[in-house]
Symmetry: C2
Subunit: 82 residues, 2 copies
């Protein structure tokens, strides 16, 4: 199953509670696209959020994030990991 | 201890072995700056690498990556995680 890191920008001031809510919204519908959102990290000062997931395709990833109201600005497939 | 995600660009074609070598080079000297490099993910097609670490400061992070020959293009402190 391909693994992805996607990047969201413009989320300046994001709090732990808001990140948790956004992540939970993805988890709630991810099965419809075969996605598995695993972890996310946020920098409230620059508004950048990194999101690690597994799933069938970039398209499936983008659909979930769009339906939950936080479309990804960049999506990278990351098959190499250490 | 602050947590960071840094981004490297221009590493098109990076292989698992090359990422492992680069990561090991960081691990070998990270104690000198009090850093702890935890994980890294690479997209060989776009040449983007994401690197998760903990340490005292962005400056310490940048020093390690510079000394091992792969300076970070972007560094984000990511205190919010889910």
């Amino acid at each position: 199953m391909p693994q992805f890191m996607d990047v969201h920008r413009g989320m300046t001031g994001i709090t732990p509670e808001l990140l948790k809510q956004a992540h939970q919204a993805d988890l709630d519908i991810q099965d419809t696209e075969g996605m598995n959102f695993k972890q996310a990290w946020a920098d409230p000062s620059t508004g950048v959020v990194f999101c690690l997931s597994e799933g069938p395709s970039e398209e499936a990833l983008r659909k979930v994030h769009e339906r939950t109201g936080h479309p990804a600005d960049e999506v990278y497939e990351v098959p190499v990991e250490v």
